[in-house]
């Protein structure tokens, strides 16, 4: 899922300082699960803005709401009336949600309240980890379920670099980063498939990733052609 982190409150206060009617809009999908942008976080953020503005003697009307999926028109359409009552939306959705709102409500100002950080999963309570970069040409079959593009800091395709030490990546600091290729090696060893570690993998086609430009999928088989 999409993992996000709330922007520092100081930044939120600063960006919303010129508005007097603020709608804080959470999203109940990915960012709610990673405890960054759901209803609860929207309420906390609204409360914080309200308290801050009281302290500054600049009272504000602020409301917290949330929507099931901020990244789909059919879900955000239900906020049409509510939108008229506020002059800014502070979106606690991921960047996709923010932009979907802008697309649907172009006359409104929508500000991001989160930093969208990565595609990943909760490793344990309070720990989230990135494991996919949406490169558009999945190689997980070759490495048996561990992504070298994401889990190797240098996105290497031919094994670990010389900075792999005791299973850790050379960039490990306060937060320990596992060496992705060490993990792949251990997994292939357990599966009896170490042969793959000896194959020379050719340069990757990055044009399927963002490097080919912003991606768009068009599927004629499911498109609805109006007027027919």
């Amino acid at each position: 899922m999409i993992i996000g982190e709330r922007k520092p409150l100081e930044e939120v206060f600063d960006r919303t300082s010129s508005f007097n009617k603020i709608l804080v809009l959470g999203c109940e999908t990915c960012v709610a699960v990673c405890l960054a942008g759901g209803k609860k976080e929207a309420e906390e953020t609204a409360e914080a803005i309200s308290l801050h503005r009281k302290k500054e003697n600049q009272p504000v009307e602020v409301k917290a709401e949330s929507v099931q999926r901020q990244c789909e028109f059919e879900f955000i359409d239900e906020f049409k009336d509510l939108m008229n009552d506020y002059d800014v939306v502070l979106s606690l959705a991921c960047g996709v949600g923010v932009q979907t709102m802008v697309d649907r409500y172009p006359e409104k100002i929508v500000l991001p309240g989160l930093n969208t950080t990565f595609l990943g999963y909760p490793l344990e309570q309070g720990v989230w980890m990135e494991n996919c970069q949406a490169c558009g040409d999945c190689v997980l079959d070759k490495t048996h379920g561990i992504c070298p593009i994401t889990r190797c800091t240098k996105s290497m395709l031919n094994g670990p670099c010389g900075g792999s030490s005791e299973g850790k990546c050379e960039i490990s600091g306060d937060i320990e980063i596992e060496c992705g290729w060490h993990l792949i090696h251990e997994r292939l060893k357990a599966l009896g498939k170490l042969d793959y570690m000896e194959e020379v993998e050719p340069p990757k086609n990055w044009s399927t990733s963002f490097h080919g430009g912003p991606r768009k999928i068009v599927r004629e088989d499911v498109k609805i052609v109006r007027g027919e």
Binding site: M156, N158, K168, V200, P203
Partner: protein, 312 residues
């Protein structure tokens, strides 16, 4: 002969090769680097030019390499895949080769977050193994990655690195074999301090016959201070410094010449030891911030001087 560089000739003729490392400067004056090169001119067969070493911005390796060519020296142009995509890497191979550079050393490079510009965007379009194959195909097939034909041929002696001290240790010889399959002609190792581990690694390499397909230069770095040794021991991933080495340096504090003299002595001994290991074809001396000591080290090893000379 792949390129006929001095380094390749030395190795092909069965001599124990000696190369020295040069780190270009962090400003526009290449003077100190060229002085170091001149100082070790008669003691090394080739000069390895680092490419934004430790991810710190410096004069480009290609510019430095070309300056050495102009002075009649044989540069090994390092190329990391961290800062350039396949367009620029291939362009720089052409650029270097068109100006007389014959040795190209492919490395991954330290991650950008560890260097002087930690906010930089890393490239990593191809990895170091793939770069070897890219250069090999340019040389042997006259083709770019795209399959397009080159307009004029490339001569290149392709280098790489191997690290016997990184993990998983059991995979390291297979990774070396993969680099050979990708086209590497010579490799230099990470700095050696753990001689037992090197010997175990080389035993596996020799058992696989890799030493007959690729020249291997042992990476040697003299230790100048206890602090430097401790820093490498604790902070540089992929370098192992055994406790006895630190103990030996500490024990030399009161001796004449102190830690520095002991560091040089240790370095000379290490070269003497690697010379005796089957499959090692030379030594690459990385006297970081101590380049002026290279001639003294080479002479002290014994039997290495004068360096072989070849008629062009």
């Amino acid at each position: 002969m792949f390129a006929g560089s001095n380094l390749e000739k030395v190795l092909a003729n069965g001599h124990f090769a000696i190369t020295g490392e040069l780190g270009p400067m962090r400003g526009t004056d290449l003077g100190p680097c060229l002085e170091h090169a001149e100082h070790m001119r008669n003691h090394v067969d080739a000069f390895n030019i680092t490419d934004n070493q430790t991810a710190v911005v410096r004069i480009a390796s290609m510019a430095t390499a070309i300056k050495l060519v102009e002075r009649g020296m044989d540069p090994v142009m390092q190329m990391t895949v961290r800062d350039r995509n396949r367009i620029c890497l291939q362009a720089d191979v052409l650029g270097g080769a068109s100006c007389g550079v014959k040795n190209f050393l492919c490395i991954q490079g330290d991650h950008q977050t560890l260097g002087s510009e930690p906010q930089a965007k890393g490239v990593y379009d191809v990895d170091s193994t793939q770069l070897m194959k890219v250069i090999k195909d340019m040389r042997d097939e006259n083709k770019f990655v795209s399959g397009d034909e080159m307009e004029a041929p490339l001569d290149a002696f392709i280098g790489g690195v191997v690290n016997p001290f990184a993990d998983p240790f059991e995979y390291r010889p297979a990774r070396f074999a993969k680099k050979i399959a990708a086209g590497v002609n010579f490799v230099q190792t990470q700095c050696i301090y753990d001689m037992d581990r090197l010997k175990e690694y080389m035993k596996r390499v020799v058992d696989m016959g890799l030493h007959e397909k690729c020249y291997i230069l042992a990476g040697i770095t003299p230790l100048k201070a206890i602090g430097a040794a401790m820093y490498m021991k604790n902070n540089v991933a992929g370098i192992i410094i055994p406790d006895e080495i630190v103990k030996r340096l500490k024990g030399a504090k009161e001796k004449p010449g102190g830690v520095k003299a002991e560091g040089l002595k240790l370095c000379v001994e290490q070269i003497q030891q690697v010379k005796e290991i089957e499959g090692i074809h030379g030594a690459h001396i990385m006297a970081i911030a101590w380049e002026e000591k290279v001639p003294e080290i080479v002479e002290a090893v014994g039997g290495l001087m004068p360096r072989p000379k070849f008629d062009d």
